[in-house]
Symmetry: C2
């Protein structure tokens, strides 16, 4: 078992990512946004850390004593700085609340177990003392998944898994690795690199998100066409529950009944705490190549991507921006805006594999009106592929709201879904004549369909939280009405709860509740998330 030599630091309490990183918005880009949005935005509050008032910690003495016995006094943190940094995730609504000095839902304590058995002990203590438990990995949730809601309970702790940081095993014959839940991706990949392997899992949250969080939220990385989604990578997992330990997954495939791994994957901390995951790993690729493609318009580009997704040889990364996003990306990076739509194709593997995949991809895309263009757009994407959330903070500082939302559907449903969501958001936000910028790209492709990733930008109004909530509601309703899934890779948390019954049906919700009754009979695990009450 090895641990990383260096750990990734905490994110800023009131913004995404590294507090020391400078704002990422050029003057020209800012000027462009201002021009596009027209009206002068409403300034947003910007509380300093010392302005924030946290509620008094409400853990009873008995519960605190049990937690201290479980993990040691230094690993039960009640200081304001730690509690503040576990008050929520990084959705626009989280950021607006933090910037306004609101930390009303701060946990009563942050508890840091060091291994599976300590997690079991914490869960037992909290079940006995009726304290809600919110599992916390990287804290990157953008759907309310890590906000401590108390539900029916008097207190709530955040269970921060950062000390579960070991690479437990590597098997380079079977190409598997067992990784503890609290490893952030750069740490995991760093440990794996010593064995010549990598996860290949690179979502936008790569720098902060954790192995356990990926499994708990059914994450998808930007190279998922090559590496699969995180659910595809999970061979087995271990979860600590209130009822004891659950170990699922013995072999690469099985017909031994329903695949129960898929009950824990995506369970968002409501059924148990995933403490380690045995993942498929891949050789570190010899080469990685990105290239940019132009299509005359969105519809043509989507058709080309469909054909590519249905061919046997595909790039590892496949993305296509609509006309608006293509224009804005070029403007933000200071380049000249092309007409039509740009796509990025990313290839990984040995030199031969990359050469073959590039050749077949090129032949296919050229048959479908694609043109290979200079690689600057692909280079921009590669350099900035974890930067989106920093841009959002830079815009917030200027009174501009920016947020993303995503869905997926079959190819046949994709273009109507695209229009319905974009129209819904525009309708909700521009009721009083405000300008709204809606960008979209296809971010992940499958043989049978694709995901759509929207970015919405508008000037803040007087009540920006209500303003965004209205847009989100319109988007979710449009998705549900158009046959899309309410979330392709952001998970459910609190924000997508209103559409869960529509997504899985009343009986589906009952199945989730029944699983929860088995594993978490007192209901302490992440109350208020995922499962409609």
């Amino acid at each position: 078992m090895t641990s990383p030599a260096h750990r990734v630091g905490d994110m800023a309490w009131n913004a995404w990512g590294d507090p020391a990183r400078p704002a990422a918005l050029s003057d020209s880009a800012l000027a462009l946004v201002r021009q596009a949005l027209g009206a002068r935005p409403h300034p947003l509050p910007s509380a300093t850390e010392s302005d924030v008032r946290l509620p008094e910690p409400a853990l009873g003495d008995d519960a605190a004593a049990r937690l201290t016995a479980a993990v040691g006094a230094e690993h039960v943190r009640t200081d304001a700085a730690t509690r503040l940094r576990h008050t929520g995730g990084k959705s626009l609504d989280d950021l607006l609340r933090r910037r306004g000095g609101d930390a009303a839902n701060a946990p009563d304590a942050v508890v840091l177990p060091r291994d599976h058995d300590e997690v079991l002990a914490v869960l037992a203590a909290c079940a006995e003392h009726r304290v809600a438990v919110v599992p916390f990995g990287g804290g990157t949730s953008v759907v309310g998944g890590v906000e401590p809601l108390r539900g029916e309970f008097g207190g709530a702790i955040t269970l921060d898994l950062r000390r579960l940081d070991r690479l437990e095993a590597v098997d380079t014959d079977s190409m598997t690795a067992t990784l503890q839940a609290g490893l952030r991706t750069p740490e995991a990949d760093g440990l794996l690199a010593a064995h010549g392997v990598t996860l290949g899992h690179r979502p936008q949250s790569y720098e902060y998100a954790t192995i356990g969080g990926y499994a708990a939220t059914r994450s998808r990385g930007q190279a998922s066409t090559g590496y699969g989604g995180f659910d595809d990578m999970v061979l087995g997992l271990t979860a600590a529950t209130v009822r004891g330990t659950l170990r699922l997954g013995r072999s690469p495939a099985s017909a031994a009944g329903p695949d129960l791994r898929h009950l824990l994957i995506g369970s968002e901390g409501t059924l148990g705490v995933i403490t380690s995951v045995t993942c498929q790993v891949r050789p570190i690729p010899d080469e990685a190549h990105q290239e940019a493609w132009a299509f005359p318009d969105w519809t043509t580009g989507v058709t080309a991507l469909r054909r590519l997704a249905q061919s046997p040889v595909r790039p590892h990364t496949v993305r296509l921006s609509d006309e608006t996003e293509t224009f804005v990306n070029a403007a933000v990076s200071g380049g000249r805006a092309p007409s039509g739509c740009l796509a990025v194709m990313g290839f990984e593997g040995t030199a031969d594999e990359v050469a073959h995949a590039r050749r077949t991809t090129r032949a296919l895309l050229e048959r479908h009106e694609g043109t290979l263009v200079d690689s600057s757009a692909a280079d921009d994407w590669r350099r900035s592929r974890t930067q989106g959330p920093y841009l959002r903070d830079a815009l917030l500082a200027e009174g501009v709201l920016a947020e993303t939302l995503e869905t997926a559907a079959t190819w046949a449903d994709l273009l109507p879904l695209y229009s319905a969501v974009a129209d819904g958001v525009r309708g909700a936000l521009s009721g009083d004549g405000a300008e709204v910028i809606v960008l979209c790209h296809v971010s992940h492709v499958y043989r049978t369909g694709a995901s759509l990733y929207f970015t919405v930008v508008t000037a803040a109004e007087e009540d920006p939280r209500a303003q965004w909530a209205q847009a989100k509601r319109a988007a979710g309703d449009a998705i549900a009405a158009s046959g899309g899934t309410i979330t392709h890779h952001h998970a459910v948390g609190t924000d997508h709860l209103p559409w869960m019954t529509e997504e899985v049906g009343e009986l589906g919700v009952e199945l989730l509740r029944a699983a929860k009754r088995v594993l978490d009979p007192s209901g302490i695990l992440n109350p208020g998330k995922l499962i409609p009450s």
Copy 2:
């Protein structure tokens, strides 16, 4: 909605497959088996259909009336011939019992609904009148999955889904098709062929097995390296349950909580009756090519397959026989037995795709001590790939027991698992000096591991059912002790029940029970299968 022009007929009541097909064992092959097994086998009974005594149908009048109201009188069958053909599946134990005239577990009636709503009505009637319901597709189960066990109930019906035989929808943009559960594969592929597409799902049971059965048992086809397992093909499904209709799966991928499709896939009729499945389909390949490869020995061959499975370009079908199976296959087909092990590689696609995959496969296998040999072994395999069960019947007629069992594990665990199972079976069967032939092949490969498929042949003794049960117990215990899964693609039924708790843990079993309580509160659905009581 279209139905097949011609339907596949019933299987023989006392043997696998087409009753009109002649016995499939050459005199030379039979002589070889006799020579290898030494002792004269114990003759097995061979009852004629008129010898078989079925129990009197035990359905109450009220239940019968409700069923008649639900599906019409002509679709509630109580004649002996129909009941006999629904008394069980096609395991060795099933065949031994039928040959002995034993049909004690015949259903009280065979009910044939024509659509989803009629299935709902049948389930409601049976729940009210406390009648067990055994969903029945092709009747190909080799693990006891379709045997009507009454459990705590006074009566049992078999729900034969053959009239759910429509292709409901095809979407050649999204490459999906919605197929009703009762379609056998040749019927489904026939309907799909009109649209230029195919499932690509070709297990040994291809001719008789059904779409619903594939989903309910988590089936794997022989070309699964190219097409995926059936679970990978399911985009969505509709199930009729005692509590109503469950529809799961909206998009190619989703992060909307646990993937509940995987609770119904593999549920073996214990939670609900899958009535239709929206599957991924593929273009009918322009070319299909099989080739044979020789390896100096099993270990070398397994290593080569591992490297092939972990490479980005792979054949659609990958199989490797151990030395014994290689020898026996050659003998059965009348060829000269090569030394070492033979493998079959199958390629499908456009001419370019097949050429490229053959080229890269050849380069890789040659680097790992493989030799491309004449294609006769591959041709034999292709011609005989659905013939195994017919051979078993031919051997039974000679007093020779033959049965298969299968498992899967990671590559690192595979060779120890292979030895443990073979030794366990040999030890169990040859305690009194009897000869035992144990054949094995790798039948499906994955990046992280592979499946092992064993065929066991021995002379029947006085109590052949007990004789095989002992071997099966030894194999199952060896699998559980060696890190394998108790079943890779045969499912659980009754035969693998003893190892289910080991497979998924006590909490896993509780999760299955909880799902059953939600969807089948009275417990009428396929009692005695899959879920340990």
